[in-house]
Structure formats: C-alpha cells, structure tokens
C-alpha cells in the first residue's frame, strides 16, 4: 500500500515537473529569412540555435523555445509578425531585428505590451534617445558609433578629404551622421542611394572619381556590400582611392568577394579573433557546426540569447518578475563574446570599438583580424536625450 502511494506521489511529482517543462520561456526572433538578405537572417538564426545548444535550451530551470519570424526586410511585415508574437504566441522576449526601419516600426508593438525587447543588430538614434525604455536592451551598438570610430581612424591616418555613400534609410542616415560627427577633414560629396533596390552604383562611383577624394567611406550591409565592392574594383578605384567601410566587409560578404576586399579596413565592436573564453567557445562552436566564420550579426544574436538567460536565471524562471530580470540584465555580466562591457542609462552598450582588416589566413580562409582598439568604453551620442537615469 505504502509502496503504491509512493509510486503515485512520484508519478504526480513527475507530472507536475512535466507541466512546468511544457510551459517554456518563449522568445520571439524577428529577422530576414527570405529575399536577398536571407543570408544575414540565417547567420543570426544559426547563432541563436548554437546558443540554445550551449545552454541546453534551459533558462532559470525552464525549457526555452525560440519562434522565428521573417520580416522580409519590410517594416510593415516586421510589425505584423511582431504583433503576432506578442499577442498570439504570448512571448516573454522579442529579439532579432537587423534593420533600423523595421525595428522602429515594431518598437511600440512590444514596449508597453508585456515582453522585453532586445535588439541584436539595429540601433536607431531615436531608441537610444527620446524613445528609450527600461524594457529595451541592445546587444549591438547605436548606429552612429561604428562610423564615429571610423571617422576617428580617418583622422589618425591624416586623410584630408572623403566621399561618402550610404543607402537612403534610417540606418544609412545615422551612419553618415556618425562619420560627420568625428571626422575633421573635408567631405567632398555624399550620395544616398535608393534602398534596398538600387544595385548599380555606376553613376555615384563616377562622381566619386571626379571629386578626387583622399578616401571613400561607405555603408552597404548584406548583398549590397558585395555589389559595391565588385563595382568599386571594376571601376578601377580600388587601386587609386582607398576604401573605408562599416558593416560592409564581414563574414557574409568576404567569402563572396574574396581578394577584392582583402586589406580593406573597417571598424566594429567585435571580431572573431578577440581573445576571451566566451568568444573562443562561440567562434569554434560556430565553425564546427556550420563550417564557416560567424559574422557580427551572429555574435550579437548569440549575446542576445545569453543576455536573456542572465535575466531569466536571476529570477529562477519567474518571468513575471520583470524588475528582477531588468536589474540582472543591466549588469551585463553574462560573459559577452565581445569581452566586458557595461550598459548606459539608455540600455545601449558602453563598449570598445576595434579596427579590423580583411585578410586571408594561413588556412586559406577569408576573415578579419583586429588591428587596434580605436575607442575604449565608448558611449553613444544620444544617451543624454534619454529620460532614464
């Protein structure tokens, strides 16, 4: 009899744990999984899957489930799938977001409706400034910061004049504003090209050549970067005018353009060769699982899952305790692949920025190596506009 009761009790206990386990922490992940930039979305999804593998798909004693959604690089669709995640799937966190205009369109669908929002890439100035919120965190950067670092590099190199090109959307404007803020030389001309459908830069490159600048600075993420680098070389500009980029030469474009990009310099807050334990585990794990180098999109997505884990762990899986999760996430002590950093008042990282050079390594692979640190513990320029203290 006693034995039977114990069996029953054990069975009931098992049932109870199954019930707990069947109620996982839900993370919505919005990225681009179709069209040209699908390759960026794939990198982010692969990194999030790797992070799940590394944490055994558990946070704070609960199972974790990621629901991936495709924004088709379209703000309207991004907002629609975000609404679905928040209202239908009742997720606890929403993360991902490559594109600033998609994040801006989706922002109000998450903030104030329960879930917390973690941007794994986009960093529009508005969210760093007046729109900042305690439920928003970034594991990337504010858009202006990386070009600000590049502006400083151009100063250090003593380049007297530059020509600027970027796509005509929220992030493109931020990138140009960023380089204009720190660069002290003369800007001879700038072109904002139609985004995302302009793929032929012949007219702009002809103008850049005619302006005779000391260097060309561009921001062309994803496939557009590949097109730009090829056309830059075909126009014969690669030999005559040095090219400096942000978010253009990365693990996505390098294997495609190969030698056309080797030697080009870019700034970034992360690099696959940064020497810390978390980064080693991430880069080695990624290469072993997928057979290619991770991009910064992947690094930031991996960090986003780890940041969420830090929050959920701190409250032992009680995701209703948002104050506890916010406090734990704000500490930024989850072991980021970029090394140590802190969060500013607007929940954007205060972090280092490095200069990276595209190389072909001894194994014949195309990748980047860190040249030097440009900024140490660098904060964005919009944090003073954020009402949070």
């Amino acid at each position: 009899m006693l034995k039977r009761t114990i069996t029953l009790a054990a069975g009931a206990a098992m049932l109870a744990t199954t019930a707990m386990a069947a109620d996982p922490v839900k993370i919505g992940f919005v990225t681009t999984l179709s069209k040209g930039p699908a390759v960026l979305g794939r990198d982010m999804r692969d990194a999030a899957d790797l992070a799940m593998e590394h944490i055994g798909a558990r946070m704070g004693g609960r199972d974790v489930e990621i629901i991936y959604k495709d924004d088709e690089i379209n703000p309207g669709i991004g907002k629609k799938v975000t609404d679905e995640l928040v209202q239908k799937d009742r997720v606890d966190f929403v993360t991902g977001y490559i594109w600033s205009h998609v994040l801006l369109a989706s922002y109000k669908s998450v903030i104030g409706n329960g879930p917390m929002l973690i941007s794994a890439n986009a960093g529009p100035s508005q969210i760093a400034g007046e729109l900042c919120n305690e439920d928003f965190f970034s594991t990337s950067w504010q858009n202006d910061q990386t070009p600000e670092a590049m502006g400083e590099v151009l100063n250090q190199l003593g380049i007297k004049s530059i020509y600027v090109m970027a796509p005509n959307y929220a992030a493109g404007k931020n990138m140009v504003a960023g380089v204009e803020r720190t660069y002290k030389g003369e800007i001879l001309g700038k072109d904002f090209t139609k985004w995302p459908d302009q793929i032929d830069f012949s007219a702009e490159l002809a103008k850049a050549r005619a302006a005779k600048p000391g260097a060309v600075f561009v921001f062309y993420p994803g496939g557009a970067g590949v097109q730009f680098l090829k056309q830059y070389a075909q126009a014969g500009l690669k030999e005559t005018i040095p090219l400096y980029t942000v978010f253009t030469v990365d693990a996505i474009s390098l294997p495609v353009v190969k030698d056309l990009a080797v030697g080009s310099l870019a700034t970034q807050m992360w690099s696959p060769d940064l020497d810390n334990a978390a980064n080693k585990k991430f880069v080695d794990g990624f290469k072993a699982k997928y057979g290619r180098f991770p991009s910064f999109y992947a690094a930031q997505s991996y960090d986003a899952i780890m940041l969420i884990k830090a929050g959920v762990d701190a409250v032992n899986g009680d995701t209703a305790n948002k104050a506890g999760m916010r406090a734990a996430m704000k500490k930024a002590d989850f072991g980021s692949v970029r090394g140590d950093f802190t969060y500013g008042n607007n929940n954007f990282p205060i972090q280092n920025f490095y200069l990276r050079e595209a190389i072909q390594n001894d194994a014949g692979e195309y990748t980047v190596k860190t040249v030097k640190t440009v900024f140490t513990a660098y904060q964005d320029s919009y944090h003073s506009k954020c009402p949070m203290q």
Partner: protein
Amino acid sequence: MNWILLIEQTLNGLQLGLLLFLLAAGLTLVFGIMDLVNLAHGSLYMVGAYFAATFTAWTGSFVYAVVLTLPATLLVGAVVEIVCLRSLYDRDHLDQVLATFGLILFFNELVRLVWGPAGLSVPLPEFLSSSLELAPGLIYPSYRLAIIIASLLAAFFLYWLVARTRIGMLIRAGASNREMVGALGVNIRFLFTIVFGLGAALAGLAGLMAAPISTVEIGMGENVLILAFVVIVIGGIGSIRGAFVSALLIGLIDTVGRAFLPDVIGGFFDDEFADAAAPALASMSIYLLMAVILAFRPEGLFSARNG
C-alpha cells in the same frame, strides 16, 4: 560642367538602358504577340544569372558560360511555356498574373533548394575586370563597355530576325492579328514556344551580363522587372522599337537624375533639404516620365501596329 563626368554618366545610362532593353524586348514580344502578362520574366533573368555562375564555376571561363547559358535559358523558357503557360492563353489577364506570380515563388524556392540562400559571385576574365582610358581622363570599366557592345549586337540581331526573316514575318503578323495567322495554317503553338524561348534567352542574356556587376541572388529579377514593365508601357506594348527607345530614355534619365539632381537641388536649397529631397526625386524621375507620357500618349510612344 565637367564634360568627362557627363560623358561617363551618359555611358552609364546607355549601359543600364541597353540591359533593360534586353529584358523588355522579351517581355513586350510575349505580351504583344501572345497576349500573356508574364510576371515570371524576372525569374528567367535570375535563372540566367545562376546558370552563368554555375557554368563559370564548371568550365572556369566566363566566355564558355555565356555560350552555354543562352541555350539553357531558352530551353527553360520553352519548358515553362509548354508545361504551364499553354493552358493560360484563353484565360483573362488576372488568371495569367496569378499563375505567373506563382511561378516567381516557385523559381525562388527552386533556386533556394538548388543553390542555397547565400548569393553567388561570378568572377570576370582578366581582360574584362579592369578599366580602359577611352580619352585622356575618361576612364571606363571595360566590362561595362562589353555590356554596351554585346547588347547592341543582340539588338541588331533581334532587328534582323524580326524584320528580315520568315520567322520574323510570322512574329510581326502574330502581333497584328493572331487569329488570322492561325487561320492561314501557321503552327501558332510552335511559334509561341519559339517566341517565349527567345524572350527567355534575352532575359537570360541580361541576367548573365548583370551577374558579374551585382550579386547573383534570390529575387534579383523582381526589381528589374518593374523597370522593364515601365519600359514597355512607355515604349508601347508589343513594339520592339518602342522598347529600345524607351529603355535608353529610362537608362539615361535614371542615371542623369542620380548623378546631377543632388547638385542642382543643392544649388537652390540648403544642404539638409537637398540631402533628403534629391535621392527621393531621383528615384521618382522615371515614374514621373511614365506618368507624363501616358497622359499625352496613352498607347505609349510607338504602338505595336507600326512597330
């Protein structure tokens, strides 16, 4: 005014216009002769680019890839026509739009399955990957010059085919009166397959020439297709001559707009306004042109009757 820059931009406009012509010529032939709205024309452009990338990788030579890609896209076009478009000729345009839109999705997924989501790159032979000095100070990429020459050759070939051969006579007759051509005992089904295959090969040629400039990627045909539709609407549907004139017009206006509008607007207004307005106006310019032409000549610059 900097004359060298102006000439360079005109060449750029010419090159874009000729590339658009190759795409629009197939579209306008199919629409004018077969009365079929083919949204999947951009997919054939994409398939041409993927073939070029694959054949370049196999044979190690871009030149061989060109020779192999043209018949391959012609074959794909003929198969698509025989398998799925044949039953659509008697349906109305909405059914055709629906079916060919389905073909776009089909081709995009097929390409994803076969080649994966990452873009491909087509390396150029050494003699095409540099630039030439055409005149003192006028440096132009040799590959873009090759595009201009190849497109002009294709245009001449098309002119010869349509105006000087028996099959061209049937194509022109088909554009004027399809039923009568059928009644005269011409195998109109076979003629349609030939026309569609020819259109596909032209789209494939445009795709393979665009491949080394841009990335070969999924959905690459969709943006270009919109421009190609603008071309045939301005040129007059069914008219190859109209497509040629309007493609060059659009290529030049688009390039000149992108190149000089920011300076022109910057001369009248302050910098911040010019930064915001110039790219918007430049990307609108060809649609403005289309609206103006449609207002004065709703049938387009050349109608198919005299084209």
